[in-house]
């Protein structure tokens, strides 16, 4: 009967529609993507912008609690990072040691002395994430210093034998 023919035709068209739009039951294919191949082709490559956003996110979750989301520090908790010589130094070696090893004893930031100690907050981060955070703080709030790459962090980590919280003298003894 004609209605059966109509049903079968619609079923066929439906199957074509399903083929085009369903992603064939793939768990990761959601509506604007037609299939897994298309989804894969639209994955963003990690460029500078991605790293900057990643750095901002990690900063706000881990560092910003004490150093402030605005980088101005909090008295009694952490010194400011905006305009800090430690942050905008040409080399990144001393800066990278701070989150990887921590600080013990007084340290001068912006003319003021801070003696609060710092745990090795960056020791648990991956090379990429720590590099992203350091790049972020070096390019935010008026700071204009160069980026830090994941390889740089890897090299610094490799050079640290047994990370202990560093004192001001030990930090100044490092090459910049």
């Amino acid at each position: 009967m004609w209605i059966l023919v109509l049903t079968l035709t619609l079923l066929f068209l439906g199957a074509v529609y399903f083929d085009r739009h369903s992603g064939w039951f793939d768990k990761q294919v959601y509506s604007p993507y037609a299939n897994a191949v298309m989804l894969d082709s639209y994955q963003p490559k990690s460029g500078a912008s991605a790293a900057a956003a990643q750095g901002k996110r990690v900063y706000e979750q881990i560092c910003g609690v004490c150093h402030g989301v605005d980088g101005l520090g909090k008295p009694g908790q952490a010194p400011p990072l905006a305009g800090s010589d430690w942050v905008i130094a040409k080399g990144h070696n001393r800066l990278a040691h701070i989150p990887l090893a921590g600080i013990n004893g007084p340290i001068t930031v912006g003319g003021k002395s801070w003696n609060l100690g710092m745990a090795a907050m960056g020791a648990a981060l991956s090379d990429a994430d720590l590099a992203a955070v350091l790049t972020y703080i070096r390019s935010s709030w008026g700071n204009k210093a160069g980026e830090v790459t994941a390889d740089d962090i890897k090299a610094v980590r490799a050079s640290m034998s047994r990370p202990q919280p560093m004192s001001l003298d030990q930090l100044m003894a490092l090459p910049e």
């Binding site: 009967m1 209605i3 059966l4 109509l6 049903t7 619609l10 079923l11 439906g14 529609y17 399903f18 739009h21 369903s22 992603g23 064939w24 039951f25 793939d26 768990k27 990761q28 294919v29 959601y30 509506s31 993507y33």
Partner: protein, 475 residues
């Protein structure tokens, strides 16, 4: 009186008390639901007046109104009509009517517990499933009892052949316990993780609001339309085809397009919704061929009119449902009042009005008393039709307008809500008409219940004061 007529009277009388309890409670919840819906609608016109008490917020009122309509009116009315149709078609009176009576009372208590639960703050948060556990357990248990009794009556039938109404009603009887238990266990009882809850909730909502009501409403229509038109259902093949395709495609849908689930779910859902075109065509053909040109009853605002109107409303509601699943229209109407309009058309315009027609036919025969206000039946019918038309048209058009504004990022969100206000005002008027219609319906039902109770009292009284027979007096 012929033997057949006394048999029919016996069958009708056997259903008397269960139907009175089911339909009486249903009428009460219908009125309660309309009042709640009207209050919910008013919160948009005077938002500031409703802020002091949790019960006055839209988030409490609207779910309660929806559930009162669906669980309070639609399901008990459907169960009652199914009981009666099984008894009549099978030519076997309903035995052991005490159990369905108790079950019907349990059902109404369950609805009360559920509605109070929503207001007290125990709502589960999922649409159509808001009743807290206590209420749903009562509902499930009560449905099982009534369904079991209907099935026992069906299996004990004298008339061995099966009518199309049988298929639809039997399928519906099985459907509800399955979907209700699954949804309550997997969402409320031992919740599944994450977005699967939403998928099951959509599946449940579709199967209850669309599939169950369509099955019961069409089963009822396929009983009454041939009866009123005076000729058999045209044709058996189309009815069979409509049954299978409606059940299959109708139950395999429900997930909205663009939902936060992998793409195969909304795609599967959309394509099955589009396939629904096929049963809708078949059902339209059945209706046309059975009713048009038949030398049956005149349409005088009575049961025949109501069942016909409900039938047309079903076709329209299904078409709106299919439209919502088309890629272009769906993108426009999702998250708007259009979906509400389609649901109201399905629940009230189709199902409730079909039930009105059935109940107006069944109840006088079951109870043996005529309605006290027969002229009000026609008035109620016109009010209900008018109310549904105003409500659905205003929400549907308003929904499209809202969708166009939502999809245009240049339009501020506040403008899309402002544009809706006029349509909401019109829809409130529609709700008012519906409330009036429901009040008239409830009036007829309640007066009949009172009349029946009074006749019971009179018969007991007559028995008590009747003169004793000589043989009964001991010397």
């Amino acid at each position: 009186m012929t033997v057949n007529e006394t048999q029919t009277d016996k069958i009708d009388a056997s259903c008397r008390v269960p139907l009175l309890v089911l339909f009486g409670g249903a009428a009460l919840w219908l009125v309660v639901g309309s009042l709640l819906a009207l209050a919910a609608s008013l919160t948009f016109h005077m938002p500031d007046k409703f802020g002091d008490c949790p019960w006055g917020t839209y988030g409490h009122l609207q779910p309660a109104a929806d559930d009162a309509l669906l669980y309070g009116f639609c399901i008990p009315a459907g169960l009652g009509v199914a009981l009666w149709i099984f008894a009549r078609l099978g030519q076997v009176p309903l035995r052991g009517a005490l159990v369905p009576v108790i079950a019907a009372h349990l059902w109404h208590v369950g609805v009360l517990v559920g509605l109070v639960g929503i207001f007290v703050g125990d709502s589960t948060g999922f649409q159509w499933l808001e009743f807290p556990r206590g209420g749903s357990a009562l509902l499930f248990f009560a449905y099982l009892l009534i369904g079991l009794w209907a099935l026992m009556n069906f299996s004990g039938r004298r008339e061995v052949g099966m009518f199309p109404s049988h298929w639809f009603l039997v399928a519906a009887l099985f459907l509800f316990p399955w979907i209700y238990s699954t949804a309550n266990i997997l969402i409320v009882g031992w919740p599944v993780r994450g977005v699967v809850q939403a998928v099951i909730a959509w599946w449940f909502g579709n199967n209850l609001v669309f599939v169950w009501t369509s099955l019961v409403g069409l089963g009822t229509a396929f009983y009454f339309l041939p009866k009123f038109s005076g000729r058999p259902l045209q044709t058996y093949f189309y009815a069979l085809f409509a049954f299978w395709t409606l059940l299959f495609f109708g139950s395999m849908r429900g997930v909205p397009a663009g939902a936060p689930v992998p793409a195969w779910l909304p795609t599967l859902s959309s394509l099955n919704s589009l396939m629904l075109v096929v049963p809708v065509i078949a059902i339209a053909i059945i209706g046309w061929k059975t009713v048009v040109g038949a030398a049956g009853q005149e349409c005088k605002g009575g049961s025949f009119c109501m069942v016909k109107f409900g039938y047309v409303a079903f076709i329209l509601s299904a078409l709106l449902l299919i439209a919502q699943s088309c890629p272009v229209i769906g993108r426009l109407t999702q998250f708007t009042w259009f979906g509400t309009a389609q649901t109201q058309l399905q629940l009230y315009g189709f199902f409730a009005i079909t039930m009105f027609g059935a109940i107006y036919h069944i109840l006088p025969r079951a109870v043996g008393i005529e309605f006290a206000f027969p002229k009000l039946i026609r008035v109620q019918h016109w009010l209900a039709m008018l109310g549904v038309f105003i409500l659905v048209a205003s929400l549907a058009v308003g929904g499209v307008e809202q969708g166009m504004k939502l999809n245009n990022p240049a339009v501020a969100f506040a403008d899309s809500t402002k544009a809706m206000l006029m349509f909401l005002r019109v829809s409130t008027t529609g709700l008012l008409f519906i409330l009036l219609a429901n009040l008239l319906f409830a009036l007829n039902i309640f007066v009949m219940i009172l009349a029946w109770k009074w006749s019971l009292v009179k018969s007991v009284f007559a028995f008590v004061i009747s003169p004793l027979n000589k043989t009964e007096v001991k010397a």
